[in-house]
């Protein structure tokens, strides 16, 4: 499998307007490095799938847009000649073929002889952990097995880019998490260039070398999972990726003035003055004794969800503050509490950022 090699992908001003006039994608430019896993994340209708389909060759970008694989212009190449692998949410396995026939289909189309095909199929089935299912028909497989077959089929001909369109969305939560880990291992071990579309931020975090957050047909932010999570470019990214408390407040002298007290802000944000929008993650807030605390409030709800407590505290800002606390502390609705927030955990946005 070591000979699998990805290409770099370059999108240059790719916009997409559908025949009915819908503008699905503003002119988007971006690079995916060789061997990188790039995740497109966003709500439905944000253009992430359209971008994927443009890379695949299932959609042509509007005039002016170009798609390059390792510098080669493939904009006008139909999908069947782009040598890309695709995995769909619905699996899209051929129901009239066995598992082995599905996986070997791209090899058969390319005229590779039976013996070589069988060897390659066996290798792929071992790799994806479905050995022994060769002669099963598709409708005898579980959802997880189907997705593994779809993956093996997509990488069988050593594609230049592997394109995955919400491949895990149809599976249930625990299976999704297990397959996510497997998929991660597989993508790393293949060293393949992968473009992955999802609306699930946990999936994006776990799989992406970098994440492209999209919104209304445009890119909202590109960055590593940590950059996206800790330094969201705007309020939309902050709220879409992870949970976020959004505080609208007056800034000055290194503090945010909130209803429940003063929240110190750090780093470059210290210099900011006037009306700002700030963001604090629920797990960045810790309970302290109310005496002497800079911020105080009253606990409204406490929900035990196993590995932590999900609490809301009122009286701190306009809206109740969400706090994720360790499951070992003891706190009840009605308690007066002090809150401590690391100044570095407060991120400021300009007020107009939507």
């Amino acid at each position: 499998m070591t000979e699998v090699q990805g290409v770099s992908v370059h999108l240059q001003a790719c916009a997409k307007t559908f025949p009915d006039g819908t503008r699905a994608l503003e002119a988007v430019s971006l690079d995916v490095a060789r061997g990188e896993t790039m995740v497109f994340l966003g709500p439905s209708g944000c253009g992430k799938t359209t971008t994927l389909r443009i890379i695949a060759g299932l959609e042509r970008p509007d005039a002016g847009g170009r798609v390059l694989f390792d510098g080669e212009d493939v904009t006008h190449l139909p999908i069947e000649r782009r040598k890309v692998g695709m995995v769909f949410q619905s699996y899209a396995l051929f129901p009239n073929m066995s598992v082995a026939e599905n996986i070997g289909y791209s090899l058969k189309i390319r005229g590779i002889d039976r013996a070589e095909r069988a060897a390659r199929v066996a290798e792929l089935m071992a790799l994806t952990g479905i050995g022994g299912l060769e002669n099963r028909s598709i409708d005898q497989l579980s959802g997880g097995q189907r997705q593994r077959v779809a993956l093996a089929r997509a990488v069988a001909m050593r594609p230049r880019v592997l394109l995955l369109d919400e491949p895990l969305t149809a599976l249930d939560a625990s299976l999704r998490e297990r397959l996510r880990a497997e998929l991660n291992r597989l993508l790393r071990s293949l060293g393949i260039t992968a473009v992955y579309v999802t609306h699930d931020q946990a999936e994006a975090m776990a799989l992406g070398d970098r994440i492209v957050v999209m919104r209304s047909g445009a890119i909202a932010q590109i960055g590593t999972p940590r950059e996206i999570y800790f330094e969201p470019a705007n309020r939309f990214v902050a709220e879409f990726v992870g949970a976020a408390n959004i505080l609208e407040a007056e800034a000055g002298e290194g503090f945010l003035a909130l209803r429940g007290g003063r929240l110190p802000i750090g780093g470059s944000a210290k210099a900011v003055k006037g009306n700002v929008v700030a963001m604090v993650r629920p797990e960045a807030v810790t309970f302290v004794a109310p005496e002497g605390a800079l911020l105080t409030g009253r606990v409204e709800t406490v929900s035990f969800i196993g590995d932590r407590l999900r609490c809301t505290v009122v009286g701190v800002s306009e809206r109740p503050l969400s706090i994720d606390a360790p499951n070992t502390i003891s706190v009840s609705p009605g308690d007066q509490v002090g809150l401590s927030i690391d100044p570095d955990a407060v991120r400021l946005f300009p007020k107009e950022s939507a």
Partner: protein
């Protein structure tokens, strides 16, 4: 009263209906077939008597030919109409399905108007080539008439099946390197197979038993339904007519049952 009791009460009318309505006449028919001068040999005569055998073979061959032609035409038309949006599409679909509403007599009548002695094709060929082409009363007319019956029904079935096709299947095949022909061969046609089996069976069974068209055309080709009618009314050979009826029913029913075991519910729906 529970739901189960409610349904159990329906058992009584059901039993009465089945007995009186289905079992009685059918067994009458089977008995009548064996009650003639030939006795049970009447059933054997279907295959042994050359005239009967020939008719049976003719009917089966004609039905097969109609089924095959219908499948080819309907698949192309159904795929095209379902996959493309163009002006007049709704009118086209309405037109394609119009013959569903016509009884066999009217279809026969239309064939005569088209290819009969005073028909359109005859006139055109006489003017163009000097020779009058008339095929309404031959096997060609029957074939055309039966197509009229089958095509609308099969087109509707194919269209319904095409609509249910997951477009991702096609895209997956293309991403794996399959060109348009390979996609048709490996993805689309196999996915339509249950619809093909179901509608072939219906088309075949209908063609086997079609009477109105054949009768109106007063065709010189004997088909089974005509033969049964002739034996019964003209020859007054009730036993032979009954035996032939049973034979025809068994063949058609076997085809339907066979198709149902392959294609499951699709046949019921298309039936």
């Amino acid at each position: 009263m529970s739901g189960a009791t409610f349904l159990r009460l329906s058992l009584v009318p059901l039993a009465v209906i089945v007995l009186a309505f289905f079992v009685l006449p059918m067994s009458q028919l089977i008995i009548a077939g064996a009650n003639g001068p030939l006795g049970l040999k009447a059933y054997a005569a279907i295959l042994l008597e050359p005239r009967y055998r020939e008719t049976l073979v003719n009917t089966v061959l004609l039905s097969l030919a109609v089924t095959l032609a219908t499948l080819v035409i309907s698949t192309i038309a159904g795929l095209f109409v379902q996959r493309n949006r163009f002006p007049g599409r709704a009118v086209l679909i309405a037109m394609l399905t119009f013959p569903l509403a016509f009884p066999g007599v009217v279809v026969g009548f239309m064939i005569i108007l088209l290819a009969g002695r005073q028909g359109l094709i005859g006139e055109v060929t006489q003017n163009l080539a000097g020779g009058k082409v008339v095929f309404a009363y031959s096997i060609g007319g029957l074939f055309l008439g039966y197509l009229y019956f089958s095509i609308p029904r099969v087109i509707l079935t194919v269209m319904a099946a095409v609509e249910k096709l997951d477009p991702r299947l096609e895209e997956a095949a293309r991403s794996l390197g399959a060109g348009p022909w390979a996609v048709q061969r490996d993805v689309i046609l196999p996915a339509l197979t249950p619809a093909f089996i179901a509608s072939s069976a219906i088309s075949f069974a209908t063609a086997m038993g079609a009477f109105g068209t054949a009768f109106t055309l007063a065709t010189n080709i004997d088909v089974l339904a005509m033969l049964i009618y002739t034996e019964f009314t003209l020859g007054a050979n009730i036993a032979m007519a009954a035996a032939l009826s049973v034979g025809l029913g068994v063949v058609a029913w076997a085809i339907l049952a066979l198709a149902r075991s392959f294609a499951g519910a699709a046949v019921a729906a298309a039936g």
